[in-house]
Amino acid sequence: VAIVLDELGFDFETDPISQFRGYDTFASIHPAVKPPTLVLDDGIMLTDSSMIIEYARAYAPRGDILTPSDPARRVADMRLTGLAMAIYEDTWFVMYETVLRPEEKSHKPWVERTEAQLGATLDYTEQAVAGELDWLLAEPLTVAAVSLAVGVSHRRRNLRNLPMPAERYPNLHRLAETAEATDVFRRYAASWSSDIETQAGIAAVIRGRKPEAG
């Protein structure tokens, strides 16, 4: 969402509050505690990345420059955005079983099912982006390109024990690495320290402590 807002020419600040470690702080801003949350200048708050992106496209200072002008490509962009959402969802499910809870609370049939599902999603997406990389990697990056690159990077960083080999996923690796090297991605780089912050927050939740004290 940050990258898309930037590409669309919005002037905004980012406030890094963790939904785990900073639960109470987040809840004091918005009780739904659902990142990303956008606070508009008049105090109105929007949650959910698709709603924020829809708002941003409708009110972009320079107009919606991210929607491809070719109708077939517009559908392709929607289709690939749906695949990116599937990567987020499947990554979340695996994290839910393996990272967000103590090992003895992990439910084996779910672990197997979710890991297999994530693998199938990545295989399918790898094929779906083959032949589309030229336009996907042209700047400004479309919503699908941003979503896929962020999804692949997030999956690689957060599920380190589950390899995602470059030989099997050359297109997804190229997409993520090329996008991560652009200026706009570097402005919102997911830093190592933010990973540690997230993991410390998650660890506090897993230990059953009140997150804020962690």
Partner: protein
């Protein structure tokens, strides 16, 4: 076009009703991600509900993506999205809240319904239970103020999202979290469930979560790796 999934899933029902309101011609195919896994995977290897197969065979997934696509091919793309700027912003804001409510409801479903009791993680479960109550009370307060505005003119997407998740929690999940009184939400659910598009894609409790009349406990057993009945 073919839309695939179970109306038991709030995201599937939201999508079906939205497509109906948009007057986009489509057929709805009842298919469970669990019971019909192989059949589902043959259409969409990712087995995500809802799945839309367009007339030229393109497979789309994610409720938001499918609705965006349907708006692009609909006779009037402005249906579901109010033209008035204030109402438009209200719609975006409440739709985001409705989606947050769906997401947290899914978390509760995964933690409480779909895993054996000894695999539940109490700190997480309590967090999710607390959060779900907060989110639904927030929705209730919003509806106290804005329900009439949402339902005065053409149906905005947020009314569908909130109506669908409101029906789910007042039915399936009522036993699993103490929601307290949600009078504005309950009244809202009653009003939207009377709308023709809601009735065409009505939740039929006798279908059960598998779409074939088998019970919630069977669903839970199947999903958590058992054989069911």
């Amino acid at each position: 076009m073919r839309l695939i999934g179970l109306l038991y899933s709030p995201m599937v029902r939201r999508t079906a009703i939205a497509l109906d309101v948009l007057s986009v011609p489509f057929t709805f195919e009842i298919m469970s991600m669990f019971r019909n896994f192989e059949q589902f995977a043959a259409i969409n290897p990712l087995v995500k509900a809802p799945t839309l197969v367009t007339d030229d065979g393109t497979v789309l997934m994610d409720s938001g993506v499918i609705i965006d696509y349907a708006r692009a091919v609909a006779p009037d793309p402005d249906v579901l999205k109010p033209r008035d700027p204030d109402l438009r912003l209200l719609d975006l804001r409440l739709d985001g809240l409705g989606l947050a409510a769906i997401e947290i409801t899914l978390h509760l479903t995964y933690e409480v319904l779909l895993r054996p009791a000894d695999k539940q993680h109490p700190p997480w479960r309590d967090r999710v239970r607390g959060q779900i109550v907060d989110v639904f009370h927030m929705l209730d307060r919003e509806l106290e103020m804005h329900a009439d505005r949402l339902l005065d003119g053409p149906l905005p997407l947020s009314a569908i999202t909130i109506g669908v998740i409101g029906s789910t929690v007042t039915g399936l999940l009522a036993r699993h979290a103490t929601f307290g009184e949600l009078s504005a939400l309950s009244a809202f659910v009653e009003r939207v469930e009377a709308i023709p598009s809601f009735r065409r894609f009505a939740l039929n409790p006798s279908e059960g979560p598998l779409g074939d009349g088998r019970s919630l406990s069977t669903f839970i057993r199947l999903v958590s790796g058992g054989e069911g009945e």
